[in-house]
Homo-oligomer: 339 residues x 2
């Protein structure tokens, strides 16, 4: 049974491990500074499919298969899968998972989905829902841009605050019995936070207050300080949102700067790759968690980290109606092995 340290701040008492994890990314992501960390980089952004939506589903499906392979398991031995993505009706996940036949819980957390899936999956496994649960997510530049902003062929000008939706996917197989693998030890469930940002080209600013709220509640609930972690990682705040987060938590007395990384900033070389404020999308944090950070926890290079995936719960229709963009951020504490 988990221990509730504060509202939404939970510590797992029974171990749940990340037994296998995989990351697949597109060509542009493969050409970025993190290109070598992915299990696979696909040169064809259609992933062999006819439509962008089918391409994203295929990418997510391949990522899940790879994660299962690396965990030494199969769909029929997985008790539960949690997934979601950015596309309306979460089709990248539902069509990806259709052939698997695994009990499925569909999530919508926008770019916070990787952490949301790991949080719920870990807690359900701790509660006996089975031995293994998988969590997966994905994003694709070509499905997201046309849905949220402009038709691709319109060639709209991107302001400097815009982020580049990554074509990438991450999947983790959680296992209650494996040892010698990164362990999920804590969870902080995010609150919807909205300080009134209405600009669909400034997602970082819309998400930063939610990230600050979650991180502050985690430090307060657990009584820990930033110094106790080797890495504090956000999903896709980008250059602008990341700086806002540093400022906001500093005002609460937490100096996270020396430990801080944002997957959106890590993903691209902005000047060379023309990606402005950085990468974004569910697959941005998801793929770098699985491709870059979890292997470093496994090797012991990182002993204790916080992964906080941030989501802008943005609706083009509600923005047209004059609404602002609510943000959310879910946090996972990951530690090395049994520690």
């Amino acid at each position: 049974m988990a221990q509730a340290l504060a509202r939404g701040v939970l510590r797992l008492e029974r171990p749940v491990y990340a037994a296998g994890y995989a990351a697949v990314a597109g060509k542009k992501e493969g050409q970025g500074p993190m290109g070598k960390c992915f299990d696979r980089v696909e040169e064809d952004s259609h992933f062999g499919q006819e439509t962008w939506e089918q391409a994203e589903s295929r990418m997510q499906q391949e990522t899940i298969y790879l994660a299962m392979q690396k965990a030494g398991t199969k769909p029929e031995d997985t008790d539960l899968i949690l997934a979601g993505d950015l596309i309306n009706q979460c089709t990248s996940s539902t069509y990806s998972l259709r052939p698997f036949g695994i009990p499925f819980l569909g999530l919508f957390g926008a770019c916070s989905t990787m952490a949301e899936g790991l949080a719920i999956g870990s807690l359900l496994l701790e509660n006996g829902a089975g031995r293994r649960a998988a969590a997966a997510t994905s994003s694709h530049f070509s499905t997201a841009e046309r849905q949220f902003r402009y038709p691709l062929s319109y060639g709209g000008q991107r302001p400097p605050s815009a982020q580049w939706t990554c074509t990438a996917s991450g999947a983790v197989v959680l296992d209650r019995e494996t040892t010698d693998a990164p362990r999920i030890r804590g969870v902080c469930i995010g609150k919807i936070t909205d300080l009134g940002v209405c600009d669909a080209n400034n997602m970082g600013a819309a998400m930063a207050p939610a990230a600050a709220d979650t991180l502050t509640r985690w430090f307060q609930g657990t009584g820990t300080t930033p110094a106790e972690y080797d890495a504090i990682v956000t999903g896709d705040l980008g250059e602008i949102g990341g700086k806002l987060l540093l400022d906001l938590v500093m005002k609460q007395g937490y100096e996270i700067h020396p430990k801080y990384h944002d997957c959106g900033v890590l993903m691209f070389d902005g000047d060379r790759q023309d990606t402005h404020a950085g990468g974004s999308g569910c697959g941005c944090g998801g793929s770098l968690l699985c491709g870059h950070f979890l292997p470093r926890v496994k090797s012991g290079e990182i002993r204790r980290m916080l992964f906080m995936a941030t989501g802008a719960l943005m609706s083009p229709m509600l923005i047209q109606q004059g609404e602002s963009i609510p943000g959310i951020a879910h946090l996972i504490e990951i530690v090395c092995g049994e520690e």
Copy 2:
């Protein structure tokens, strides 16, 4: 800790109660045969708001407040809320919940959301995530029809297999400590099931195979028979889907007919109200669970029931791309008091 009887078939060992529940519905639903069961029927389908999307959010928000009031609690004493709906990016839920400040887990399960939220919420509470969790959902005729089918003012002809998206919302406050209330005792997590139905005007046929799979797995996993339940209730299979479900489970050896009710069939007087195959939408099953069935479990009239909310994971874009409609169904076992 829950007991896993089979993959995705879970029995809760610690009690979790439905301490408060509420249902709010629109004018047409109020004029139907179930009109008297709702806590509130709103004559103004705009719910005092300017847009349909804002109207649905407001309806859901009122329903959650009412459920909390009836459970004798407040947002600040609720540890967790799980919600989702049909609208892109689940805005009816995210904007509804924005002022609450409750740790939030966003779901996408289409019309299966009420059962998905109750399933995850119950299991997380059992695992110590807090004392109280709320689960909520909603649908609105005017937000759903224009998103999934035709613009409202187009006045498209509806085929006989079409269902009528209900303007309705349901919310439940789960509580680990209350007694003398309906108790969640079991959960069956659905699998994505797709037998190739491509017709957005025949949701019942798309969802029935998923419902049959879930119900059969429940009976097999628990070793129970239909005769042991006072009511077996589906969310919104409607006339066509309901008949398919009866046939499909009969082929597996389960005769559920005498105990079977579908909220989509119950909601309207089809001949008088011109609703063809019945009601649909997240709020259809959600509102009748909260307005009609849970009060009957509380009074002891129903001692043991299964509530299975069914979802058509339908995307207008993927249908345009020639895809079929995947279905899913999550099941909850609800029993009277301590039994």
